[in-house]
Amino acid sequence: MKKLKMIKELPLIIILVLISIVITIINPSFLTVENFLDLLKSNLVLTMMAMGMLLVILTGGIDVSVASMITAVTVIIGNSLIHFSQNILVTVLLATLCGVILGLINGLLITGLKIPPIVATLGTMSMILGIVLYVTNGNWITGIPQNFIDFGRIMILPKTLADGRVIGIPIQIIFLLPIIILTWFVLKHTVIGRGIYALGGNLESADRMGFKTNRIIVFVYAFEGFIIGLSAVAHTSIMRQVDPNAFLGFEMQVIAAVVLGGASVLGGYGSVLGTIIGVALFSVINNGMILMRIPTFWQKIVVGLIIISSISADMIQKQREEHLKVRVDVDEVASYEA
């Protein structure tokens, strides 16, 4: 029982279960295998990107350029698949390389020039998106080679339903699962991962302890870039074409999911499990809204409210703790003499 109490993510899990119950009552088709597989596929990229954003937020930073970065990489690999090489492995290598380079740019601006993460990533977002939209002129890239499309359609454990539709676990899971496992492994089992938590919790102490905090921060942004690269491949294999406008506003969803999953924007707090639940909660809310026929325009409102209320709750709790801090060990018994 004690171990159960210690799971910080428990409240979130409970909320997730409750909301799922409510939605199921309103629309029973929520609680079906097809719906879940559908949810998995449509939120695959969100989950992967959330892993990368988790690391960034753990260091107390933020990255609003992620949407522009994944767009850029999808455009690059789109063109590469058509004109350069159909080979999936080559595509993955190219995508991750591009992602890492873009991530490094952010990381170096932040550590080298001491530009606040919000401003640095705001700048890179504008530059990357501008270049991408200029090069593509907003046009879609179609004509993705068939082998890649076929690859994207593969399903693991396929099952044919009564109406002839085939459902199964999408192949893109080979991108998702390793990323989740890798992120978890880095955070939990490497010194650099613990260093991420350390510097997010107390930067000065982390420095004093000997952690090379600047290097860790650059690593975090590069790692995020790596994930973005893989996400781009996964996304393109699902969508089978490249739309430069597909990710507009996506960075907000990624941030919302991570924040909802319990990560603190001040750094140092958050976990892979929490983030997965955050993504699940986020996607369930979205899916719920669709099933309850709430127009999609509400989605942004929900995202905004999620961010603000999660952070507010976090802040209010911190203030309460600060207020109750004991400053003086007061003597209970008076010892006054005139």
């Binding site: 020039l113 001491k114 530009i115 905004g304």
Partner: protein, 325 residues
């Protein structure tokens, strides 16, 4: 006299003015007929005000040590709500003046409310400005989209359209509004007690509190004023475009941060001058209009703006390091 001129030039504003002249010169050289054309000069004069006002709004929040990522979204929300009311009143009653008054008033009120929302979350709940305004940005955008369903609001009375598109004695009305705002902001930030308080809060909120300044109160008001300014910019934009859409002015967000930083506002807060932001806004406006006139793809202009922001911050960093040594 020579020394005085030298002294003037050596100031940050002096350097900015020189950069402005240089940029104008470059643009003129690149294509005198296009750049110096009546069309271009007019469009500059009509576009600068909304951008300038947004930059001042952003500058105010950066001085407090924060950032307002919901700036342009507050403006568009205001535009949309006010515009909708205005066009419905106009359509239903035919009363142009009534519609105009209701429209403008509502635009300003909604924008101020957006500012109040931010102010509340930042000063009273204590959320860091970056994430608070980031959340608010999405929230406002969502509400805007909800109202317009992606379309545009139109059907404004002529009197409203005239605000953004006519001139009095040769001076465009938006420019007149801009000048008034400039003077008010200059008075507020550099000459008033509230401005002094805001600057000190941006430097060191603890010292400000210990000196009797009601920090939460002042911050709250600053966000409200910032929202109100966004509303004014929204009025001008809605009038100039003769419609209200949630995507208008989105590129102004980054550019207003760039203008503030270029104009000498410290990104960590505590410093900022109205003249500096004005000159920086002028520089960026000339660059963006100029490039537009030359047919440069507007996407590339965005790239340039992003680069300018980072470049200015890099220069600031290097000069700070130099000073320390």
């Amino acid at each position: 006299m020579k020394l005085k001129i030298k002294g003037l030039i050596a100031t940050k504003e002096g350097i900015l003015f020189i950069i402005f002249l240089a940029v104008v010169a470059i643009m003129t050289i690149l294509s005198p007929s296009k750049f110096l054309s009546n069309y271009n000069l007019q469009s500059l004069a009509y576009q600068l005000p909304e951008f300038g006002i947004l930059s001042l709004s952003m500058m105010l929040i950066i001085i407090t040590g924060g950032i307002n990522l919901s700036l342009t979204f507050s403006a568009t929300l205001a535009m949309i709500v006010g515009g909708l009311a205005m066009s419905s009143v106009f359509a239903n009653t035919g009363g142009a003046f009534l519609a105009l008054v209701i429209g403008v008033a509502l635009m300003l009120v909604v924008a101020a409310l957006a500012g109040i929302f931010n102010g509340f979350v930042v000063s009273y709940i204590g959320v860091t400005p970056m994430i608070a305004t980031l959340g608010a940005a999405t929230l406002f955008e969502g509400i805007s989209l909800n109202i317009t369903k992606g379309g545009a609001i139109s059907g404004f009375p002529l009197s409203f359209i005239m605000i953004g598109n006519t001139a009095i004695l040769g001076i465009p009305v938006p420019m007149l509004i801009f000048v008034v705002i400039l003077i008010l902001m200059w008075l507020l930030i550099e000459k008033s007690k509230m401005g002094a308080a805001i600057i000190m809060i941006g430097c060191n909120p603890k010292v400000a509190e210990f000196s009797g300044i009601k920090v939460k109160n002042v911050l709250f008001k600053a966000y409200m004023i910032s929202g109100l300014l966004a509303g004014v910019a929204g009025v001008i934009m809605a009038s100039r475009y003769n419609s209200a859409k949630e995507s208008y002015g989105s590129s102004y967000l980054l550019q207003s941060v760039a203008a503030s930083v270029l104009g000498g506002t410290s990104i960590s807060g505590g410093e900022g001058r109205v003249v500096g932001t004005l000159l920086a806004a002028m520089i960026l406006q000339v660059i963006s209009s100029g490039l537009n006139i030359f047919g440069l793809n507007r996407y590339l202009t965005n790239v340039l703006m992003g680069f300018i922001l980072i470049f200015v911050l890099a220069i600031n960093f290097v000069t700070e390091k130099f000073k320390k040594n």
